[in-house]
Amino acid sequence: MRARAATRSTGRNRGWLWLAPAVLVAALLFGTAVGETRIPLATVIEVLAVKAGLGSAALDPIDASVIWHYRLSRAVVAACGGASLALSGLILQALLRNPLAEPYLLGISAGASTGAVTVAVAGIGAGLLSMSAGAFAGALTAFALVAALARAAGGGTGMRGAGVIILAGIAGSQMFNALTALIIAQSASAEQARGIMFWLLGNLSGVRWPDSWVAVPMAALALGVALWHARALDAFAFGAESAASLGIDLRRTQVLLIGTASLATAIMVSIAGAIGFVGLVVPHAMRILVGPRHARLVPATALAGAVFLVLSDVVSRIVIPGQVLPIGVITALVGAPAFAVVMIRGRQR
């Protein structure tokens, strides 16, 4: 009995963690191999091997370019974005004690969009980093507004409080989306407007390697911060006051974790637009699979988020032949029913 207890919290069921890199590599390979142009898997692997410096075969330059510059970069960014968004959802759900919390539903994505579009249209600095900074400012503004509105409306914890903050999030989303539309209508040229609208729906089409220079460190940072705070996230199970009485520095933890979630969302929005529901679906699915303890939940959520978004991206490219759907359409098709299920289960509690 004691021996079993001893393994429980230290190393129990950690074996699957060793599988995580393999699963991730498999998903990336799948994302790279599937696309509009049929390229044999052998060619894909050959190109990847040569590019990684593991051989020197003669490559078809078009195949090589499609695989390396378009598909692999896109799959890598999708994986990082999925992990970032899923971890953001996990963090927000734990800290707000709200099963419906998620960057998209809380209006954080909409605020980030407004921030990014403002920077893009105004042409401040231009480029990914300044757009990310604008998105981050927008994300934080949106979260502050939504949290203040929820507090003013008397939102607490539990299902009723959960409803209040989601309503506040909807109000925030609507307002920021309207602001975005206003900015586009007012200031953008027709060509700019078309590009921005396409990007806003959540789209990975324009992703190239430079995007991964931001996306990869962001995903790593989000994973690191969440893992570092795994016990703190656990401690919120009985509420913020209980967490404080267990020795958690509330102010520091909330600022750091919500800041990380907002930053991760902002970076993803500035790369690929607002992709919804990843942060809702993935953490809930992982809670069912690995349980509520964050030491396991955090890596599982990051991995599943990465795989989910790579697969969603693949589906968005092949579900209608000859046409690429915005990836946000696919995640919403999966996510909206999941949202309904969580809501109904919450009611029964």
Binding site: R2, A5, A6, R8, S9, T10, R97, P99, G158, L227, W228, R231, A232, D234, A235, A237, F238, G239, E241, S242, A244, S245, L246, G247, I248, D249, L250, R287, G291, P292, R293, G346, R349
Partner: protein, 256 residues
Amino acid sequence: MTPILEAVGASHAVRGREILSDISLRLHPGETLGLIGPNGSGKSTLMGMMAGLLRPSRGEIRLEGRPMARLGRRQIARRLALVAQSAETAERITVRDAVELGRTPWLGPLRPWGAQDDDAVAAALDAVDMAHMAGRDWASLSGGERQRVHIARAHAQAPRVLLLDEPTNHLDIHHQIAILDLVAQLSVTTVIALHDLHHALRCDRIMVLRAGRCVALGPPMEILTPALIREIFAVEAEIIPHPGGGRPVFAFQRLA
């Protein structure tokens, strides 16, 4: 001797209005102090302040002689545990998960779970007689079982001071007695907010609060006179000696 927990003229104000005024108290190691008072008299506020969760607007709280304001949350949590009123969760955690939370102040990213943590959790589960239910889901527990798990969680925290905010609320009489017996056998300094005056008789000392002020502080049999009970709770009380030599019982009647 330094008191283990001390309030010095501690007050708490919300939007400029004092809801707790000039509370002074020296808690000695090992004693059990009962907090008594009508609803809204400031018991929970005093608990929160003694737990370091609320900052005094005037005066200060000292833990082992050191001002609470200068201690970090972790340092406080290693010395003092709080069982708040009806803390609930929607997470699908087990009894053991909930008790393991008590080890949080002793753990960190660089100080992983170890054998002594397992021992602390096992001892805590034993103390509340919940070891056989360690694998049960939180959602499947009764109110009394949940309260016992909260106390086990506090026990696993290995505190020197245990604060309990109305731990017998909403429990049937059997579980009320069981919880009080359980708390009495824990060898920590305890502050316990209570509504039932019979339960208060079990404490070493009681503090009576009314409208945020300390009205009386001392051994329960000296404090709980019919005159004080009439003044504080607006009921007529008669104290009836126990025929078997146990603690007396109160008979209450509305004021005429």
